[in-house]
């Protein structure tokens, strides 16, 4: 089998086996706790075509897109700064890594008090999840640029901005892309979590009302949509990511 196809074949086998496990679980625990794959799919189709769903989806997507924009902008700026300035990088990097390990959901009340209930709190929560990996990967990428490339730049008498544009950025692109890929997923997770805890609209809200109403089909349909979207986009990004890394090594 050609290695190019192997990844997709594996992914297909994996998805098929997950569906089999799901069906088996359904047969085991029964109707009251779990909806079957087929029933969930049917409910999902019905839900997606429903008019009110569009509003929820739009709300989540809007919050997510704005949050990802800020994560990227702040992450790249801070990452480049800490990568350049060795002392600041050494001082702040472990602190940022430690912040990554704290359960950020507990910070959500502070954000709610500061931003109020609504879009801005959701965006802020998405950003504090997504920005950290982007900073850390960019920082490492800039710091680990091969010295010979920088020396070449000095020999060619490039200005500071030219060095960034023609040497640092192209050399760092594969690593930065990895950061953006991880940041993408974490921003999505942050936005959804914010909706689950406090909001009146969005996919996270649909999940929580599903529990409240004990509507298992709704809970499973929304979970299915979120998981399918996140996994599909992330797999695609991973594909590009690996290609960028291969090209950089060649």
């Amino acid at each position: 089998m050609r290695p190019r196809w192997k990844g997709w074949v594996n992914a297909t086998i994996l998805i098929a086996s997950l569906i089999v496990v799901w069906q088996a679980l359904y047969l085991w625990v029964g109707e009251s706790a779990l909806a079957s794959p087929l029933a969930t799919l049917r409910y999902t189709l019905r839900m997606v075509t429903n008019e009110s769903f569009e509003g929820h989806l739009y709300d989540t997507m809007r919050a997510f897109v704005i949050a990802f924009f800020f994560s990227t902008a702040i992450g790249l700026a801070v990452g480049f700064w800490l990568g350049f300035d060795r002392l600041s990088g050494e001082v702040l990097e472990p602190m940022i890594a430690a912040v990554y390990a704290i359960p950020k959901l507990t910070l959500y009340p502070i954000l709610l008090l500061a931003f109020g209930l609504g879009l801005s709190a959701k965006v802020a929560f998405g950003v504090i999840h997504g920005v950290i990996p982007i900073i850390l990967f960019t920082l490492a990428a800039v710091r680990n640029t091969k010295p010979i490339l920088l020396k070449t730049g000095r020999v060619l008498k490039l200005s500071h901005s030219q060095t960034v544009r023609w040497i640092l950025f192209p050399a760092a692109v594969p690593e930065i892309f990895t950061g953006l890929r991880v940041g993408f997923s974490l921003t999505l997770i942050g936005t959804l979590l914010a909706e689950m805890f406090a909001s009146q609209r969005g996919l996270g809200y649909l999940l929580m009302t599903g529990i409240g109403l004990h509507n298992i089909e709704q809970v499973m349909a929304v979970t299915l949509l979120i998981v399918a979207f996140a996994a599909a986009v992330s797999y695609l990004l991973l594909h590009i990511d690996r290609r960028l890394h291969r090209r950089a090594q060649a």
Partner: protein
């Protein structure tokens, strides 16, 4: 203490001082946040009075349960997968995209299946942590130098002895990376799900205090979680770095 760690403390002290100033001058109003010195005072009051001991005990037990489960299942699974090449290739897309999927989205579903006890929270912590353990242990097992394994075979070590005296020490630093991530993820999973919906625990108390505008309880508890997770993360990072240094890998 090195220069860098002095700067680190300086950053923390400056940040707290800035918060204090902003609170005292009224830029941040009292309803949003109390000044840090009052948070510190309430923190000691809560610890001394012991009224949160039940919640702290419950959260700690659940975090430890999730962590222990993730470590044992993760290492056994990794050792197994290390031998079964095909199965490992099939599961690779799952591991690669796993952290892009919002695991918390499964929490409502777990509540429906298992009820509102401790089990759904432990399961979420376990699910978040286990893949980090598997991936890092596999990484460590891949990097055991084959010359060491050959030496073990020449010396006719029993499989158990090879595992204990050759594989474990060689893969150690990578497994510790897994341990570090597993601790962080168990924390995040358990406290996060307590916060979303549960009957007790520190995460629950934070959510409860938030809903009652009880800042005198909420901020000290958030501080407690920050201190606990940052302390755990920093000490494990330190151990990880020491193991790597001892092998001359840094």
């Amino acid at each position: 203490m090195s220069k860098v760690s002095w700067y680190r403390w300086l950053v923390v002290v400056a940040a707290v001082a800035l918060l204090e100033l902003l609170c005292l001058t009224g830029v941040i109003d009292k309803i949003t946040m109390q000044p840090p010195h009052l948070i510190a005072r309430d923190f000691f009051r809560i610890i001394v009075s012991g009224r949160m001991n039940g919640a702290i005990l419950k959260t700690t037990t659940n975090v430890l349960a999730a962590f222990g489960l993730a470590m044992s299942v993760g290492i056994v699974a990794a050792v197994f997968l290390h031998r079964k090449r095909t199965l490992r290739d099939t599961l690779d897309p799952l591991f690669a995209t796993y952290y892009a999927v919002p695991v918390f989205a499964f929490y409502p579903f777990f509540i429906v299946v298992f009820g509102l006890g401790d089990l759904p929270q432990i399961l979420i912590g376990f699910m978040l942590a286990v893949v980090a353990v598997i991936v890092n242990t596999l990484n460590g097992l891949d990097r055991v130098p084959s010359v060491l394994l050959k030496t073990a075979r020449i010396l006719r070590l029993a499989p158990a002895e090879t595992a204990l005296r050759v594989t474990l020490p060689a893969a150690g630093p990578y497994i510790v990376t897994g341990v570090k991530l597993a601790v962080a993820y168990s924390f995040i999973g358990v406290i996060g799900s307590e916060f979303i919906l549960s009957r007790g625990g520190v995460g629950y108390e934070i959510g409860f205090a938030y809903l009652n505008f009880d800042n005198a309880t909420m901020y000290p508890l958030i501080l407690l979680i920050l201190i606990a997770s940052i302390a755990a993360n920093s000490s494990l990072s330190w151990w990880e770095r020491r193991l790597l240094e001892r092998r001359g890998m840094r």
